[in-house]
């Protein structure tokens, strides 16, 4: 959040500081605690780059595509809790950030993107590299600004950081015309810059919280459904969540974005829920009588058919965004607030009223859950000749546990297998594109995470389709010494699309087979990376060991079985208790209630 400049000093210095717009930008970023910026220079932003050159407090990481810069800022923010900052030029520089901005908006990631713009006098004249940045990014940002007066610049930047980080976090764009960067104006320090009217509510209503804990004490089949909001709220929320769950003894599941808030090794953990969630998690959600939703938004990947979603349950919904409440699913007790604070208040209320869960009913509920667990829904058949992708992820997880790695994924089957098999014990370890599902997210996000966490093991698990979308960032890793490990599950198909085509479109594989794949290791080596290939299960462990041991960026081409499918799967249009299960699951393929 905004770091205050020394208030005493600022109050004492009555003389306002005058500096150029470019200097104001750097000064404002420094006062906001920014250490790293991801960017790509261009004509409209040269004055800022000129200032950047003449200082050494802010570190600039040169990307190879502006989309990569935004995903890097996202990985940086997600893995550290800080704001990710991007600097790009006007026109194509700004439009290249749109996908990343939409991704940050969909997953509520705090990112501030500064775009250059043509001089104010040329705006609207179809100048070179001019585009209506504010107009184009209006719907893919939480808020955006065009600064036409240099004296507004400092305040705008501080306000942008406030907007990006308060309430439900999100991306903010600041468009700065070149003449404003050259002009001289007053610098305003950050303290006391909030916003006149945008003040999200963070403390939940006490009456609603009291009612909620009463319901929890009487519940016979409760379940916690947690999401990315817990991780966005911060360590306080994670601690409070764990305490509340352990106190009550209730089962807990999480969305893709919330993985790690509750440790996967704990017996109360049911696994991820949703379209590719575990059998036990989805059935627990369907059959529960009380659902406690914390920092999750009832996305359609989770609910399946809405009219059949958890029909018999009462629902408590804790969320900081009022428009998420009652949007898809009617809830009984909505609690608007920051889930960290609400959870702490719930714990206090529970203790104060001396509440206890219904132990008898809970015991029976856990017995039922154990019956569902016995289906072993994530089972798959191993092979001696070829590597099953699930096995690759499992071996990777086992071999890297002691390093507590940060893992980013791209989008598709590998992403789902990572969520299923890479058992996360702590938050801020999984970086993935959930809401937007952007292929090409993985490599830059891993690089951003590495920049925020030097010395840490950072792995990007990816697929052969996704990795090529931002493959140019292999160069950024070398230039800035970011020793990320890319673990490619190479199956020559756009796997998730192929799976849908096989299961729902009569196996008509339209454009999902990828011909003309490069030799990925030759490509990686051309960029200066170390390359490792493995094609047989027996080679896996050694390949992973070498990957970890090597000092520098490593590209592992792990060639896996081509036609594996992700199970369980709830096909769209099905209720969330009707799942397709893989062949290996104990007792039959298609499971009913």
């Amino acid at each position: 959040m905004a770091e205050d400049a020394n208030p005493a000093a600022s109050a004492a210095s009555a003389k306002p500081e005058m500096m150029t717009g470019a200097e104001i930008v750097l000064r404002a970023l420094k006062d906001q605690g920014v250490k790293d910026i991801f960017g790509y220079p261009g004509g409209a932003v040269l004055p800022i780059y000129d200032e950047l050159f003449q200082q050494d407090e802010l570190n600039h990481i040169l990307v190879r595509h502006e989309q990569g810069a935004v995903h890097m800022a996202e990985g940086y923010a997600r893995s550290s809790g800080k704001v990710g900052v991007v600097l790009v030029t006007s026109g194509p520089g700004a439009t290249n950030t749109v996908t990343g901005l939409m991704d940050a908006l969909a997953d509520s990631v705090p990112v501030v993107v500064i775009t250059g713009q043509v001089p104010t006098t040329l705006i609207g004249s179809d100048a070179f590299q001019e585009c209506d940045t504010v107009g184009i990014t209006r719907s893919c940002t939480k808020h955006n600004y065009l600064v036409k007066d240099v004296n507004d610049l400092a305040r705008t930047i501080h306000e942008a950081f406030y907007v990006a980080t308060s309430g439900r976090p999100g991306p903010v764009v600041i468009d700065i015309p070149k003449d404003v960067q050259f002009a001289t104006g007053i610098y305003v320090p950050p303290h006391n810059v909030t916003h006149r009217t945008y003040r999200p509510q963070v403390r939940g209503d006490a009456g609603a919280i009291a009612a909620a804990v009463e319901l929890m004490a009487r519940a016979r089949r409760p379940v916690f459904y947690t999401g990315g909001g817990v991780i966005n709220s911060g360590p306080r929320a994670v601690t409070a969540l764990r305490e509340l769950i352990r106190m009550t003894g209730f089962p807990v599941t999480s969305t893709l974005m919330g993985l790690g808030a509750y440790p996967a090794s704990d017996p109360q953990w049911l696994g991820m829920l949703g379209m590719h969630g575990t059998y036990e998690a989805n059935l627990a959600m369907h059959d529960c009588d009380l659902m406690i939703a914390v920092g999750a938004r009832f996305d359609d990947r989770i609910t399946g058919r809405l009219d059949a979603f958890s029909p018999g349950s009462r629902k408590i919904h804790i969320d900081i965004d009022p428009s998420s409440i009652n949007k898809n699913v009617r809830v009984d007790i909505p609690i608007l607030g920051d889930c960290g604070i609400v959870l702490e208040d719930m714990i206090a209320a529970w203790k104060e009223k001396n509440l206890k869960p219904d132990e008898d009913a809970l015991r029976k509920w856990w017995e039922q859950i154990d019956v569902w667990r016995a289906r072993q829904c994530l089972s798959y058949r191993r092979s001696e000749e070829a590597i099953m992708p699930q096995e690759a992820i499992e071996r990777l997880w086992a071999a890297t546990r002691e390093h507590d790695p940060i893992v980013s994924t791209d989008v598709g089957q590998h992403q789902m297998w990572t969520a299923q098999f890479f058992r996360f014990e702590a938050p801020n370890r999984l970086l993935t594109s959930g809401g937007l599902g952007t292929m090409g997210y993985g490599l830059p996000a891993a690089l951003g995470a590495q920049a925020a966490n030097p010395g840490r093991l950072v792995i990007c698990i990816t697929g052969d389709g996704s990795i090529q979308m931002n493959i140019q960032e292999l160069a950024t890793a070398i230039q800035h010494r970011l020793p990320v490990k890319v673990f490619l599950l190479n199956n020559n198909y756009l796997g998730m699309v192929r799976q849908w085509q096989e299961l729902l479109h009569g196996n008509r594989l339209s454009e999902s087979y990828v011909e003309a794949q490069p030799d990925f290791l030759e490509l990686a080596r051309a960029y200066g990376w170390h390359g490792i290939r493995c094609t047989k299960p027996a080679e896996l462990d050694e390949a992973i060991r070498e990957m970890i041991a090597h000092d520098g960026p490593v590209f592992v081409d792990c060639q896996v079985v081509n036609l594996a499918n992700v199970f369980p799967m709830i096909p769209a249009g099905q209720p969330h208790n009707e799942m397709l299960l893989g062949e290996e699951t104990a007792n039959a393929e298609k499971a009913g209630v």
């Binding site: 107009g135 916003h195 006149r196 058919r305 769209a572 249009g573």
Partner: protein, 190 residues
């Protein structure tokens, strides 16, 4: 997909499920107080079009110059569920101060203005003037062969006036959107 057999019928092979909306559609008047900053109207309209909400009428103008505040009055329609979403989505916008659903809060006072050009002679001309008098419309422009009337009132009243002018030589109409305000002593939060 909404019939009772939907569970048995084969769902469309889509990544999304499609549900029909069954609730009745209502028309509501919303009053939105915003910062008067460049682009704020585009932001509000962008929200409506992006999420597929209806804009039936829209009026906007500055209300408090010193505080830099504007007021946008929007007439929109949707199911109660959609209307609730519209209100929350509007409140979520950073430059929005407050959102009031005047229809929900009860029977707001609504007025709009129309300028109506009528070209007529003889009997029709006399009849037009008589009707204008009945509707308390003023003549703001007069020539030997034509009038321009100014009429204010509820939308229904203005609609009626225009309908009546049609056979009497109506040739052009320009209308504003509605301005609406709640009854009683409470003011909207600014």
């Amino acid at each position: 997909m909404s019939d009772s057999d939907s569970k048995l019928s084969i769902p469309p092979a889509s990544t999304y499920f499609m549900v029909e909306e069954k609730e009745p559609v209502e028309t509501h008047t919303l009053s939105v107080v915003v910062d008067n900053e460049p682009g704020v109207l585009a932001r509000v309209i962008g929200l409506f079009t992006a999420r597929g909400y209806n804009i039936e009428q829209l009026t906007v103008s500055e209300t408090e110059h010193e505080k830099n505040i504007s007021r946008i009055t929007i007439v929109t329609s949707g199911t109660p569920h959609i209307l609730e979403q519209i209100r929350s989505q509007l409140k979520r916008l950073v430059p929005v101060h407050s959102v009031a659903d005047l229809t929900l809060e009860g029977d707001p006072i609504e007025r709009e203005l129309a300028l109506v050009k009528v070209r007529g002679e003889g009997e029709k001309r006399v009849e037009a003037l008589r009707l204008a008098d009945a509707f308390r419309a003023r003549v703001v422009d007069a020539h030997t062969g034509s009038f321009v009337f100014e009429i204010t009132g509820k939308t229904r009243k203005v609609d009626q006036f225009i309908q009546l002018m049609k056979p009497l030589g109506l040739i052009e109409v320009v209308r504003t959107g509605i301005a609406a305000i709640s009854r009683g002593p409470e003011a909207m939060k600014v």
